[in-house]
């Protein structure tokens, strides 16, 4: 376990280093932030002043060294656009994205797993065919279009739910979140569902495939032969085995939802981090882009680690120890 941890940690540091280098060179190749940020009416002297003020007058490798020197002390630089700490800017917006991602994943599991199980257990039923057809729609409809349709139907035509923005937040046990107020939840429903739709479809299909495959395996036959009741066979033996691919995908998708919820956040004017990232790209706000992507790398590493641990709990064949070779 310790060896496993240390190896993971070393890998992570290399990944972070490479990532920051790629982003630095990448943003440099796209363009000069000053050309975007400066007032068009500025003259040449003002342009040069702005370039110096943002530290862009140095050659790229020196800019990178300046960044590294600050980064090892935990300072990832200040946003060009907002003149605030890049990391602080991102962390301030993380709760909004986190709650959106969480709500979406809960929806995805709560709807996806039961529907997928149903479709897997009764593959020929009309209801199952309907579920599968629905999942194809969930896969193929573009998120921004579904989002706009949700707004049109539920906010504009029916007027049941608010169209955009994050609602009031409440504080419970020191955690401030939309989950704790009615207004907050009302604002959360549409964006969470929009974000969840693709994942619901994905989990339905995974669960169904898993169920179909597992039902044919020997241990299921054996469990039945042992005279276990059908409920126990399905909900303990089959279910546990289905969960392995589902957990993998959930882990990856949760990361993806966190990092790139940008379409949903933009359409619903949700004040999360995804929108910050895209706007930062548009403004070439390099400190924010670098800080964001580094943070995401850390998150993916953590999620993958968690998934590995979960495997070992779910599947007795998986062990985290690396056997001595």
């Amino acid at each position: 376990m310790t060896v496993f941890l240390i190896r993971r940690l070393l890998q992570s540091i290399v990944v972070l280093f490479v990532m920051s280098l790629i982003v630095f060179v990448g943003v440099f190749a796209i363009g000069n932030p000053v050309d975007i940020l400066i007032s068009p009416e500025a003259d040449q002297a003002e342009r040069e002043r702005a370039i110096r003020a943002l530290g862009l007058d140095l050659p790229l490798h020196q800019q990178y060294l300046v960044f590294l020197r600050k980064a090892v002390t935990g300072n990832l630089g200040e946003s060009f656009v907002f003149s605030e700490s890049a990391l602080g800017l991102i962390l301030k917006r993380m709760p909004a994205t986190l709650e959106l991602a969480l709500a979406a994943m809960v929806l995805a599991v709560a709807l996806g797993v039961p529907l997928g199980m149903w479709a897997g257990l009764y593959p020929d039923a009309a209801s199952s065919r309907t579920i599968m057809a629905g999942s194809i729609l969930g896969f193929s409809l573009p998120t921004f279009w579904v989002g706009l349709m949700l707004i049109m139907v539920f906010a504009v035509m029916l007027g049941w739910l608010p169209s955009t923005g994050r609602g009031q937040t409440g504080t419970v046990w020191g955690i401030t979140s939309s989950f704790f107020t009615v207004d907050g939840l009302r604002h959360l429903v549409l964006p969470a569902f929009n974000l969840a739709l693709f994942r619901i479809a994905l989990i339905i299909r995974l669960t169904r495939a898993g169920a179909r495959e597992t039902l044919l395996q020997d241990f299921v036959k054996y469990a039945r032969a042992k005279g276990l009741c059908e409920r126990r066979v399905i909900f303990v033996h089959v279910f546990k085995n289905i969960l392995i691919p589902v957990v993998t995908v959930l882990g990856l998708e949760f990361g993806g939802v966190m990092a790139f919820a940008v379409v949903t956040e933009t359409i619903f004017a949700w004040p999360g981090m995804g929108k910050l990232l895209v706007d930062s790209f548009n403004h070439l706000d390099r400190p924010v882009i670098v800080a964001y992507l580094l943070l995401m790398v850390c998150m993916f590493i953590a999620i993958n680690f968690l998934v590995d641990v979960l495997y070992s709990v779910l599947d007795p064949r998986v062990r985290l120890v690396t056997r001595g070779t």
Partner: protein
């Protein structure tokens, strides 16, 4: 039982009503289309930030809806000699914290405005002409300039006056609201980055009292989402209605639309000064002996090959006006003699033949795809029109992050760009877009085609030192005529901006595209 469920229902309704109070009569929620990046009025010279600052702060000189200059914190101003301007200040004005306003606040403001650390675009642009500020008495200030500077009142209409207490405040102090204390019609109540700004009325405002006790600006940058928010009633007003939605909102009986022609001209910039243009070749793709865009006949041919009314009608859904110069008529320093070039494909071909290109040539039109209203579609339409006239034109559209860097490096030969005149008069585009590129004089900084005509340079330079408004307007108009007759740029159209709002509200639509809550009123007497 029935009674019981009725009372439950009532309770639920009461709870619902308590949680979602109907927007009070003197509150308004406005959907803005671009992010306000700071509440510091001097940090970043950026329209959305200036838009917010106008609510909280005053300037010495204000701009009316057509960007004419009107008294703000200064009641009057005049040039007392070639290099000295004298401003008489409004008396009895108080800051939001109750402290009185006087000349010392002007001194503090002018110290801070050009020197905010890390500013990506500073206000030094508007203060650099001032060499010295002399306080004559608490309500009289003189500004000394090194050289005669006719545009000082225009420049000062962009500088928001802060309290002397905030002279050394940081941008963070303004963002938290600690030092965001102005004399303007609203006080800053809450500023949440990339989400919303909340303002409350300044009941002691010296000017017209706003109709709204509380104003919330929601930042909804997606065009469709902003319209949806208006339709759903989540906001009462939105700015920047996108062109596909204009007709739909017009047809909606619950909504009203207000529009005004803006100070933004969309134009083509041409590589008109180099012997070799990187993206111009003959029709087989081989380099040409010389750069055809250097020839004024070719440039005029291109201008005549463009069907401006068709672009306005089909692509802009009518939300534009064909352009023949740098600013629409009625603005300061425009020429009454300049009209949009007529659509004349035959004449264009003839001009091309005269210039020695009877078979035309090939060119790439570069355009941003996220900067101006329908920018890429306009570029596509222009390319087709030029191709019809014999100039094979390909379009390459890219995000503005890449576009402006490459354009500034002079990598393009023909590009679609826009120019909004912040000062509302023609010296702004003349100086930046058309004057000869000269680092030391600070002219031609945005002249990405490197057009140059000494006659025009001289006219502009003279205008900038001519304090007399009428004479200056005439000189600027003349300079416009010289530049347009040279086809230094090809103007396409002026954008028209639209504001959508609930019926019963009125707005004074503005040329500077600002959305100002104190100009939103409940319509009276209906």
């Amino acid at each position: 039982m029935l009674q019981h469920s009725a009372s439950v229902l009532l309770t639920v309704l009461a709870v619902v009503a308590a949680v979602f109070p109907a927007a009070a009569q003197d509150e308004i929620i406005i959907g803005l289309g671009a992010d306000v990046t700071s509440a510091d009025p001097h940090y970043h010279n950026l329209s959305p930030n200036n838009n917010l600052a106008i609510h909280v702060f005053d300037r010495l000189v204000h701009q009316d809806e057509r960007q004419g200059l009107i008294p703000g914190l200064a009641l009057s101003w005049r040039a007392i000699d070639d290099t000295t301007w004298e401003f008489h200040l409004r008396q009895g004005v108080r800051f939001h914290d109750g402290s009185p306003f006087d000349a010392q606040d002007i001194v503090s403001t002018l110290k801070r405005a050009p020197n905010v650390p890390n500013s990506p675009s500073s206000f030094g642009l508007y203060t650099k002409a001032i060499k010295e500020v002399i306080v004559v008495d608490p309500y009289t200030v003189r500004f000394k300039t090194a050289t005669p500077h006719a545009l000082l009142p225009n420049d000062l209409s962009s500088i928001n006056i802060i309290s002397r207490k905030a002279e050394s405040a940081s941008t963070a102090d303004f963002n938290t609201g600690k030092t965001t204390i102005g004399t303007g019609p609203f006080k800053l109540a809450e500023f949440v980055l990339k989400e919303k700004v909340v303002l409350t009325r300044n009941d002691d405002y010296w000017g017209l009292k706003p109709d709204w006790k509380r104003v919330t600006f929601k930042l909804i940058t997606n065009d469709s989402a902003r319209v949806a928010a208006l339709l759903a009633g989540d906001v009462q007003m939105i700015e920047n209605v996108s062109t596909p939605d204009i007709q739909r909102l017009k047809a909606n009986k619950d909504l009203a639309l207000f529009s005004a022609v803006s100070n933004r001209v969309i134009y083509l910039h041409l590589d008109s000064n180099r012997d070799q243009a990187p993206f111009v070749t003959d029709k087989a793709g081989k380099p040409l002996a010389k750069n055809p865009l250097k020839d004024v006949r070719v440039r005029r041919a291109m201008s005549r090959a463009i069907n401006r009314p068709a672009i306005v009608d089909r692509i802009m859904s009518g939300a534009a006006i064909p352009a023949g110069q740098l600013l629409p008529e009625g603005f300061f320093g425009v020429s009454p003699n300049l009209k949009p070039d007529p659509f004349d494909p035959a004449g264009a071909r003839k001009l091309l033949a005269e210039a020695g290109y009877p078979d035309g040539f090939r060119v790439t039109l570069h355009s941003p795809n996220d900067r101006y209203v329908n920018d890429e579609q306009i570029a596509q339409a222009v390319a087709q029109m030029l191709t019809q006239a014999g100039i094979d034109t390909r379009v390459e559209a890219m995000p503005s992050a890449t576009f402006f860097t490459r354009a500034t490096k002079l990598e393009f030969s023909l590009m679609l760009v826009g120019w909004g005149s912040g000062t509302g008069e023609t010296s702004s585009p003349l100086r930046s877009l058309l004057a000869t590129y000269d680092r030391d004089k600070g002219t031609g900084a945005a002249n990405r085609g490197r057009y140059s005509n000494p006659k025009m340079d001289a006219l502009v330079a003279q205008a900038l030192v001519t304090v007399d408004d009428q004479k200056r307007a005439k000189l600027l108009a003349e300079a416009c005529e010289v530049a347009m007759n040279d086809v230094g740029i090809i103007p396409l159209h002026y954008q028209v901006s639209f504001w959508g709002m609930r019926k019963g509200l009125t707005y004074v639509p503005r040329a500077d595209e600002y959305t100002l809550a104190h100009l939103v009123q409940k319509s009276k007497g209906n």
